[in-house]
Symmetry: C2
């Protein structure tokens, strides 16, 4: 693949900034975008010269394949500002590797690493005032690729657009989350695209999640489509169970997203001598553990959600309320993660990357 | 829901027509569009006044949820012109019902029937010169809905766009098709969205289909994700098997699209006293039937493909070539269907609808 330096990105600066219109203390997730966006088109068999331009609507044909066949993948990342004003990314190489893994599964061309990182750093430098310091503040970064070729035959497109847009963020879920364990609906099949951050995986969850919301649950924890006996993930989060002092989470496979927060928590648990078991987790064992009191906590983990404690779950019309505990694993891991992300603690595994 | 008559559609006519630039004898499927398109936006909790305007690119925010979460469903229909110049649709009520069924599964608001039919008929009247008479000619019609709300939180959008675009068409697959029976990859899960014409279902098939193409197969016939022992559908077509003189096809369920061509063939078979079995079809029985000579034919059926004879299949690295037979069911049903669609034969079941 061709190589590109930051200097070769075509930059059109915004004439004015929108930043003064934003109340950073009251931010609805994903509705406000920074002054610039990164755009790179794929055509004639290769990625073209990338551009950074003022954030703006784009023009696209109604026959663009993304609208008809869902060829679209994305990533979720965050940038954090430390007290000295430096801006940091968290394990961004993992996001780049994963968007290409997602892309390959959807027959989308991979995006070159140097384009990705030069584009990302150049964009974040232009919009660095949008990254606010302080715990809980971050800039949510959304790289994504869509099929733009104007042709509605059901086959892979020959034209794509890779973009990065950025949105200032607070925590995604506020308060504790109540979840429903899926008994009928499924998120993904063996041999399917569940492991990919494919756009279609998300829309498929909205209706079952709406039904759960009507019952008072914010999220669904998906179970395996074959038997509905094993717990998998929550769609926007991987899920961890603490039974006594052991942390348990499902292994990744072709149905479950290989979450970066998930794997960071597994590493942090090991670093802190907490027993971690990565194995199939049955609905039955979690219900049994809830009944006998050994289930201490459940929490979700993901870039947008960070760590989201779960206060109750329902399965087979039985509701299990979880105890309030002190020194929860959820709170310990959240603090450790945020401290690393905000450059407040040592970075043993070289997870931070400074934006320069 | 509110009601709307054709007169209330806002119509902006194209100043010129593109029709003279089109070589109707050499048409690549889905790349050429007629002079007009139908557009109706959903916001503030309701569908707004529909518009017909010159076919053109549209402006959409990069944060529109369709790009990120795949909230998009569509339909495929065709219009046919008879020798008297009248234009006909085939079972369009089924398309309207199905797009709403697909929409409901993806938490997209349903589109009112009167909007759908008034829009469709008004659009086709404007562009009726694009429907060419003669067997094999048709106008492919693509109604679709996309989530347009500019906000990247993972939840159903509050704004959508419903559109109809039209593209002149010849047959979709030319020549016979060789297929691979899926052994590893899957199209959909129990409890998933396989029954819906959801955009994401299609992108998920592109990579496995590319791998099949590298082996010399144009299509994959999907098997159930749990066991890969039962044959389901081909992604853009339902699949029929003829064993001796019995026609067999899989029942629809939440993994398989309820194809309109499929159900029409089942009815035509009944009308013509051909035995039809709608039941699970195992890979094993089809391989056994191929070996003992009782498997006479396999064909795919769908709106775009009409009826597509399959000349060979591969499973577990074993290739089965199908015989060339005279008076194949595929050719019989294709002729009967096309004759009904083109107003050349009696329409026993009131499948035709004239465009007025």
């Amino acid at each position: 693949m061709s190589s590109i330096s930051s200097k070769e990105i075509q930059i059109e600066r915004a004439k004015t900034t929108k930043i003064d219109q934003v109340d950073f203390n009251n931010i609805d997730f994903g509705r406000i975008f920074t002054d610039h966006m990164f755009v790179c088109d794929f055509k004639d068999g290769k990625w073209q010269t990338p551009k950074i331009m003022p954030y703006q609507p784009m023009t696209i044909d109604p026959s663009a394949r993304v609208f008809h066949y869902g060829q679209a993948v994305f990533e979720g990342m965050k940038a954090y500002k430390d007290e000295a004003g430096k801006v940091w990314l968290f394990r961004p190489e993992e996001n780049h590797a994963r968007i290409n893994k997602s892309a390959a599964r959807l027959a989308i061309p991979e995006f070159p690493k140097d384009y990705f990182f030069n584009g990302l750093h150049t964009l974040l430098n232009l919009d660095k005032d949008w990254v606010k310091p302080g715990m809980g503040n971050s800039l949510y970064i959304r790289p994504f690729v869509i099929a733009t070729e104007p042709a509605i035959s059901a086959s892979p497109a020959s034209e794509y657009r890779f973009m990065i847009i950025c949105s200032p963020a607070k925590a995604y879920y506020s308060g504790k989350v109540r979840v429903l364990f899926a008994e009928k609906f499924s998120r993904s099949a063996d041999g399917g695209v569940g492991f990919a951050k494919a756009a279609g995986n998300y829309a498929a969850q909205f209706h079952p999640t709406n039904l759960a919301k009507e019952q008072g649950y914010q999220q669904v924890v998906w179970t395996d489509a074959n038997t509905h006996e094993y717990l998998e993930e929550a769609g926007t989060m991987n899920v961890f169970f603490r039974v006594n002092d052991t942390l348990i989470t499902a292994p990744t496979n072709d149905r479950i997203l290989d979450g970066i927060t998930r794997k960071s928590i597994i590493q942090l648990a090991k670093d802190n001598h907490i027993d971690v078991e990565v194995r199939r987790v049955s609905v039955k064992e979690i219900k049994d553990a809830a009944r006998n009191g050994s289930l201490k906590e459940i929490f979700g983990a993901g870039t947008a959600a960070v760590i989201s404690p779960i206060s109750a779950f329902e399965h087979a019309e039985e509701v299990f309320e979880l105890p309030n505990i002190e020194d929860s694993f959820a709170s310990i891991f959240k603090e450790k993660l945020l401290n690393i992300q905000h450059n407040l603690s040592e970075d043993l595994h070289n997870w931070r990357q400074e934006v320069k």
